[in-house]
Every structure is written in structure tokens, then in C-alpha cells.
């Protein structure tokens, strides 16, 4: 399984000279399975570059949405394969009692917010409510579960060829909870992340920032680390960077994470901040682009 980060930013795209190394595109992770099948985890603005990197030949791919906040779907109408009739796209996302997945996505992919409507997309697109159970895509076993965020939100676990990826980009497991003391079954997202080869997890706020953002659906660094430690993930990538955090700030955030991780007895190399363009081969170690922390 190969994993590439196409967008690591949370909330809103944040391009500019201060976000060059960690990137300004919002959430999107490409996953290439052992048989070559392609998954996209979320469709933030990072999916635009993912689409540009794909060949124009007939393609079938699955987009697994964690939730429908704009920073996770904003790239859909700029995803080049969606405008090719030879492309088949299956979009998975959380169910809601309010409306179907298609209708909720169509609120964005429609006037006045979008120049095209879902029904006008040339590709063969279908929408499926993600089951809160295990299912298969190609050689991979996929599992999802609701996690603590604002509104219906899922995390995913993908297992393929002996490796496992847990993807929980928007997550506030520490809301009203002591992650060090709780039994595992009472920790949001735990079963998804348990023993994962790679955990991609919300790391939006510093511990000092968090008190001003309690209940916003994201983690303080201390919560992210406590969650990763309890889950026993082999490697953790912190994700969904705050749009106010430039590269230099994130370098300090990364060092704080490594210090705290090492202070708790962990391997400094097993934790880091996700950078746009970063690739991981699971279960092999990360191949990071030069200059990233």
C-alpha cells in the first residue's frame, strides 16, 4: 500500500510563501492498493493535483469522504477525472437522516456555488453511504466508524497486504475525556487506529491554543499524542494543519511533538507532521521530500 499526502491543511486552503513546505491544500490522501486500485481519502483542494497526476486512460476510483465540511469536498469540481466519460467514480460518505449523500454533496456541486451540477458530470459517478462495518475494495478491507467531530463524521481503517492505514483527520477524542485514563472501548476512534502501520490524525492545535477551541472538533497536540500512544500505531502523521500555522510555526509544532513523544518513551522518528507531497510505503518507512520536518 502506498500513501501520498495531496493536501494536509485544515479548514480553508492557505497558499502562500509561508506554507510552501507543509502545503496549503486541504485534506486529501491518495492510497494505491497492492493491486494498483486507487482510493482518495477526502476531496479537499488537494484532490485537484491528485487528478492531474492520473493518466487519462479509463480509470475506476473510490473517494472515501470522512464528512462533508467544505475543506473535505471543495476539490470535487476541480478533479479532472470527473470530467472524463471514461472515468468511474464511487463516492462514499457518512449517512445522515436529513438527506442522501448525493443530495448533500449537490448543495455544493450546484448553483450558485458551482458552475456545474452533479448530473452534468461526464464521468460515471455514484454515491454510497459508508457502512459502519467492514467491506472490501479490491484487495483491501475497509472499516469505518463514527468519530468525535462536529456533525456526522467518519474515520477509516484500510488493511491491505499486511499493512494498515488509519485515517482520522478531523477528531476531538479528548473532548470531555481523559485519554490516559479511559478504557480503550470508550475512546473515540480507538478501534480504527489500534496497532495501525500508519495513523494519519488530527493535530490542528497546540495545547496552548486548544482552550480557545474546545468543541470545535479538533485535537490539541497532547490529545493527538495520547490517542496515538494508546492506539499503539507504529507511526503517526499529524494532519489538518491550522491555516494560521505557517511552515516555521509547524516546524516548532513538529519538534514539540517529537519531544513529547520521546519524553513518553516513544521513538522520535515515529511521529511527524504531514507535508504535501509526502509519501509512505507501508509497512516500509516514510520517504519524505527534502526540507520537510
Amino acid at each position: 500500500m502506498k500513501v501520498k499526502l495531496w493536501g494536509t491543511r485544515g479548514s480553508v486552503p492557505s497558499p502562500g510563501p509561508e506554507t510552501i513546505r507543509y502545503g496549503g491544500n486541504t485534506s486529501c490522501v491518495g492510497v494505491t492498493l497492492s493491486d494498483g486500485s486507487l482510493l482518495a481519502l477526502d476531496a479537499g483542494t488537494g484532490i485537484r493535483n491528485l487528478g492531474l497526476a492520473l493518466p487519462e486512460e479509463p480509470t475506476r476510483l473510490h473517494i472515501l469522504l470522512t464528512h462533508l465540511h467544505l475543506d473535505h469536498i471543495q476539490g470535487l469540481v476541480f478533479f479532472a477525472p470527473a470530467f472524463r466519460p471514461q472515468t468511474e467514480i464511487v463516492i462514499w460518505g457518512p449517512a445522515s437522516p436529513e438527506a442522501s449523500l448525493r443530495d448533500r454533496i449537490a448543495r455544493y456541486v450546484s448553483a450558485p456555488l458551482s458552475p456545474v451540477e452533479v448530473r452534468e458530470l461526464p464521468c460515471d459517478v455514484s454515491f454510497r453511504h459508508t457502512p459502519e462495518a467492514e467491506w472490501e475494495i479490491g484487495p483491501a478491507r475497509i472499516r469505518s466508524a463514527s468519530v468525535a467531530h462536529r456533525g456526522p463524521t467518519l474515520g477509516y481503517r484500510i488493511e491491505d497486504a499486511g499493512a494498515s492505514l488509519a485515517y482520522i483527520p478531523d477528531h476531538e477524542p479528548g473532548l470531555g475525556a481523559d485519554l490516559d485514563a479511559l478504557e480503550e472501548e470508550w475512546i473515540s476512534g480507538f478501534a480504527l487506529a489500534e496497532g495501525a502501520s500508519l495513523l494519519i490524525h488530527d493535530g490542528q492545535y497546540t495545547d496552548a491554543e486548544y482552550p480557545g477551541h474546545v468543541g470545535w472538533g479538533h485535537s490539541a497536540l497532547g490529545h493527538s499524542l495520547a490517542f496515538a500512544r494508546r492506539a499503539g500505531a507504529e507511526r503517526t502523521v499529524l494532519f489538518h494543519h491550522d491555516p494560521m500555522h505557517g511552515d516555521e510555526f509547524l516546524d516548532r509544532h513538529a519538534e514539540a511533538a517529537r519531544e513529547a513523544w520521546a519524553g513518553a518513551g516513544g521513538d522520535r522518528a515515529a511521529i511527524g507532521l504531514g507535508a504535501e507531497g509526502e509519501e509512505h510505503s507501508l509497512p516500509a518507512l516514510v520517504d519524505q521530500p527534502a526540507g520537510t520536518a
Binding site: 445522515s96 459502519e132 466508524a145 473532548l175 470531555g176 475525556a177 472501548e185 470508550w186 473515540s188
Partner: protein, 134 residues
């Protein structure tokens, strides 16, 4: 491992922050959590007791009706809420571990999700009485 439904996790987190005695049962009616205020009322912290079924719960704490007779498990507000998927309310008497009787008003709400009833939450309002006979 088996993971608790998110709705129960969030309910537990909320209850942990409340000063009102509150109890949580799962889909099967098993008592899976109560908060510190409930622990004070009962005289035993949840961490000391752990998850308990209805028989043990009844033998430890009652509850009893105004005449001092045990209230059948099926008639408890929490059980009605989780089994019938509706709110339920009753006045009842609880016996704490030191034998003290507490009269309370109990209100229970089912935790309804897209996957059906996942459990129920009950809040006890102590009314100051000692519950009379029991």
C-alpha cells in the same frame, strides 16, 4: 476490539462533566457508566463497581416504590427508554451502600441513532426525602 458506539462515548463524556447524578445503559440494558454525582448518591464510585447487570444493580441499590417494594426491572425508566425507545419518568427510592434511602425523580431518554437505539441515559433528581419504608 469492540468499540462503544460514538453516541454512548459522547454521552459518557457529557455525563462526566455534570453535577447531576446520571446513568448510562447500553443497547442490552446493561449499566455501563454512572458519573461522580451518582457515585456520591449511591456511596460507591463507578470505578469500584464496574459494569453491572440488572440483577446485581437491584440487589445493591433497589430501587423501591413509595411503599418500599422493589420496582421490577422492566418498569424502571432507563429500561423502558432503551427497550421501547421512548422517554420515561418515575419517582423512586434508591438505597445507598450505607443503607441510606434517597427519594429521587428519574428521567430517562433513549439514545436513538441511525442504527437504532444504542442505549439510554437517565438523570436522577434527589427530592430530599428518605423514601419512607424500604
Amino acid at each position: 476490539m469492540t468499540q462503544r458506539p460514538l453516541e454512548l462515548i459522547l454521552a459518557r463524556n457529557l455525563m462526566s462533566a455534570l453535577s447531576t447524578p446520571a446513568f448510562l445503559v447500553d443497547q442490552g440494558g446493561l449499566l455501563v457508566f454512572y458519573n461522580e454525582a451518582a457515585g456520591t448518591l449511591l456511596g460507591k464510585r463507578f470505578e469500584e463497581l464496574g459494569t453491572v447487570g440488572p440483577e446485581e444493580w437491584g440487589s445493591l441499590f433497589g430501587p423501591f416504590d413509595e411503599s418500599g417494594d422493589p420496582i421490577p426491572y422492566d418498569e424502571l425508566p432507563l429500561v423502558a427508554a432503551v427497550r421501547e425507545g421512548r422517554p420515561a419518568h418515575a419517582g423512586l427510592t434508591i438505597r445507598s451502600t450505607d443503607g441510606t434511602l434517597h427519594r429521587v425523580e428519574a428521567s430517562a431518554l433513549p439514545i436513538l441513532t441511525a442504527h437504532g437505539t444504542q442505549g439510554a441515559i437517565a438523570v436522577f433528581w434527589p427530592t430530599g426525602g428518605n423514601g419512607g419504608a424500604a
